[in-house]
């Protein structure tokens, strides 16, 4: 499903046309942020755990090539077939080839943001393979022909009445029914049939362990397990940054992940896949898709530490009021805004500006990514690379000129204040975005400097 590329500010204007809905969206996500606070504040060593997680991931990135080789070796020993994909296209092709070889035309898929990033569903659809997303939230957005709006809560933007409508149309539930239990039961029946009849299942990967060649998938619903354990072919797609060095490091990450994500002490299922089931084929696709280049950017590489908990989205006051789709990428919110310019600077030039740089994202990040500092740095890079709108360039250069000369500054300030006092309509009008919902500040006759000269200066 392709998101129409638009810019964040315009999409936000659209999203804010229905203010009660914005309030609802904001409150829902804020509730999750509060649950996260409660869970994390209940662990005395929380900040220490974040530090450990950060250091483990720093170590992983610093030895990534060695760990990848180690992981590949162990996974092969375990009987897993390992594939390498340089980019999205190659990933999709590998998945298709595996399915094609097995004569599979229908596949179940549990949540994988990587496959969203790669556009796998559309690719397979074009090649005659039906994919059913089995995470309830993902199934809902799939039926709605929309991309997920949140990496952990894919349909957080949807109201239950809208989901009821979709299910009525696609799953035959009663018209007008919107009770979550009723709708979930309908999805359960529909997806159980899917699990039992699909010969292939694709899952994402939360963590892969270099030391043992196993990988861990975390879900609450159990859909990854239902899919994988009933299928003859299990394909696991993972970005190369998902590695961690040793099994015991899971102790740190599994303590942080669910608490950061939803405030749960752990996800219902943390499944450790080490070897294929007897008679089953298990594949891992290691995907680069820009990550190895990203790794070389000193200012930005530590975004690759991300464990996809979504805490930065839940806490982001902008995300909560603009919705995930305004970020026009598989990964939205603050982390999306620092990851996506690595893939396509031009398309994502708006995203690092979709922030007040309040820094809350950095504080909730369980692996201590300096998200808001990276947003600031991306702004510098994007402007240097020529992705700033022309009008902004002019006004910034102008501002730089005014503010570098005390005389010009004094004059400009005086003129602005005079205008506001005497001809306010020249500033307080429709052309001024500030004025749309805010009054301009009152302009005093005298600046502080003028006052100071009169009252203190000799």
């Amino acid at each position: 499903m392709h998101t129409e590329v638009t810019n964040h500010a315009d999409a936000s204007v659209d999203f804010n046309k229905d203010e009660p809905r914005v309030d609802w969206h904001d409150k829902t996500l804020w509730f999750i942020r509060e649950k996260r606070d409660k869970a994390s504040h209940g662990i005395d060593e929380w900040e220490q755990l974040r530090e450990y997680a950060s250091q483990i991931k720093n170590n992983t990135l610093s030895r990534l090539s060695e760990y990848l080789i180690e992981f590949e070796g162990k996974a092969k020993e375990n009987g897993i077939i390992v594939h390498w994909a340089s980019d999205a296209k190659q990933h999709n092709h590998i998945v298709y080839s595996i399915l094609h070889q097995q004569n599979v035309t229908r596949m179940s898929k549990s949540k994988s943001m990587l496959t969203e990033e790669c556009g796998l569903n559309e690719y397979l659809d074009e090649h005659g393979i039906e994919v059913i997303d089995t995470d309830l939230g993902e199934r809902i957005v799939q039926l709605a022909k929309e991309p997920p709006s949140h990496i952990v809560l894919p349909c957080i933007h949807k109201k239950k009445e809208e989901i009821g409508e979709l299910f009525h149309e696609h799953l035959g539930t009663e018209k007008g029914a919107s009770n979550p239990e009723y709708l979930t039961a309908a999805a359960r029946a529909h997806l159980r049939e899917t699990f039992l009849t699909r010969k292939a299942a694709l899952t994402g990967v939360n963590f892969a362990i270099a030391e043992t060649g196993e990988f861990v998938v975390c879900t609450n619903e159990g859909n990854a397990d239902m899919g994988a354990h009933l299928a003859d072919v299990h394909i696991a797609s993972m970005g190369i940054e998902k590695l961690i060095p040793e099994r015991k490091h899971l102790g740190v990450f599994l303590r942080l992940l669910a608490r950061s994500a939803t405030g749960q002490p752990i996800t219902t299922y943390s499944s450790h896949f080490k070897k294929p089931r007897s008679g089953q084929e298990m594949h891992i696709v290691l995907v680069d898709n820009g990550r190895s280049i990203h790794l070389g950017k000193e200012d930005f590489r530590n975004a690759l530490k991300c464990i996809r908990c979504g805490a930065c989205m839940n806490t982001c006051p902008v995300y909560r009021r603009s919705g995930g789709h305004s970020y026009h990428n598989a990964v939205a919110g603050p982390i999306g805004s620092i990851l996506t310019p690595n893939m396509d600077m031009k398309k994502n030039a708006d995203l690092p500006f979709a922030s007040t740089l309040c820094g809350s994202c950095t504080n909730v990040c369980p692996v201590k990514i300096d998200i808001h500092d990276q947003l600031y740095k991306w702004r510098q890079v994007l402007v240097q690379e020529g992705y700033a709108p022309a009008a902004k360039k002019v006004s910034m250069n102008m501002m730089g000129w005014v503010l570098s000369s005390p005389k010009v500054y004094d004059m400009a300030g005086k003129a602005a204040r005079w205008t506001l006092r005497n001809t306010p309509f020249a500033i307080s009008n429709k052309m001024n975005p500030w004025f749309k919902e805010r009054e301009m500040p009152e302009a005093p006759k005298e600046s502080f400097k003028e006052w100071y000269k009169k009252n203190r200066s000799q």
Binding site: T28, F31, I32, I43, E45, Q48, L61, S62, L64, S65, L68, I69, W84, A85, S86, T134, L136, G137, I140, L153, P154, C155, K160, T184, A185, A187, R188, R192, F195, N220, E221, G222, N223, D225, M226, H229, L230, I240, R247, K248, H249, L250, G251, V252, R255, P265, I266, T267, T268, Y269, S270, S271, K275, R277, L286, D288, S292, L295, G296, R301
Partner: protein, 196 residues
């Protein structure tokens, strides 16, 4: 070859070595406190928890708390109330109509209420996921305080598939309303049984 290209590029771009931390989290709780924390987490996770002296007590409670249907177990002591699975000889799909699965777990984790199971304990990987109801037996002395202790215990033990399970299958994808039984078990019972 993509493999060489990726590895080469990663090698060129990876930063200077950054050391691994020494993970040192001390636990101050005694065994009683650990058990109590475990039990309180189970409640949070919508797991019906019971302390029992012996298997007969467990069976009484199961009889009392469950309705009929196909019961399976991988614990031989329960063969009188459930079909014993000793090996995985059928296709896993054959478990589709299982009402309840009675399985053992290696240990439980107090900080999050999770239990650790490995494939050899459940015979079919899918069993704890496909049953309508999951009934887990843990020995009383086998509760660890936190995930660090859990992985110390797991250490280098070998398994083909393993999982931490912390409750019935659940979802809150529809307007954040919690619903139990997304795909897997709709309910879970956990028995902490005295070792004999």
């Amino acid at each position: 070859m993509s493999r060489e290209k990726i590895l080469q590029q990663v090698k060129e771009n990876q930063p200077l070595l950054s050391p691994l931390p020494v993970i040192d989290i001390t636990v101050t709780m005694d065994e009683t406190a650990i058990l109590n924390q475990f039990l309180s987490k189970l409640e949070m996770l919508h797991i019906a928890a019971f302390l029992a002296n012996e298997y007969d007590d467990v069976k009484d409670i199961i009889h009392r708390e469950t309705n009929g249907g196909r019961f399976v177990t991988t614990i031989s002591e329960f063969r009188d109330m459930a079909t014993l699975i000793e090996h995985s000889t059928e296709i896993p799909h054959s478990l589709e109509d299982v009402q309840a699965a009675i399985i053992p777990a290696h240990f439980g984790v107090a900080e999050n209420g999770a239990v650790w199971i490995t494939e050899d304990l459940v015979k079919y990987r899918v069993l704890p996921f496909i049953a309508q109801q999951l009934i887990v037996i843990v020995k009383r002395g086998h509760i660890v305080a936190n995930m660090h202790q859990a992985y110390e215990k797991i250490a280098n033990t070998s398994y083909d598939f393993a999982a931490f399970i912390a409750g019935p299958s659940k979802t809150a994808d529809i307007e954040q309303s919690l619903v139990l039984g997304a795909h897997g078990p709709k309910a879970m019972m956990l028995f902490v049984v005295d070792e004999n």
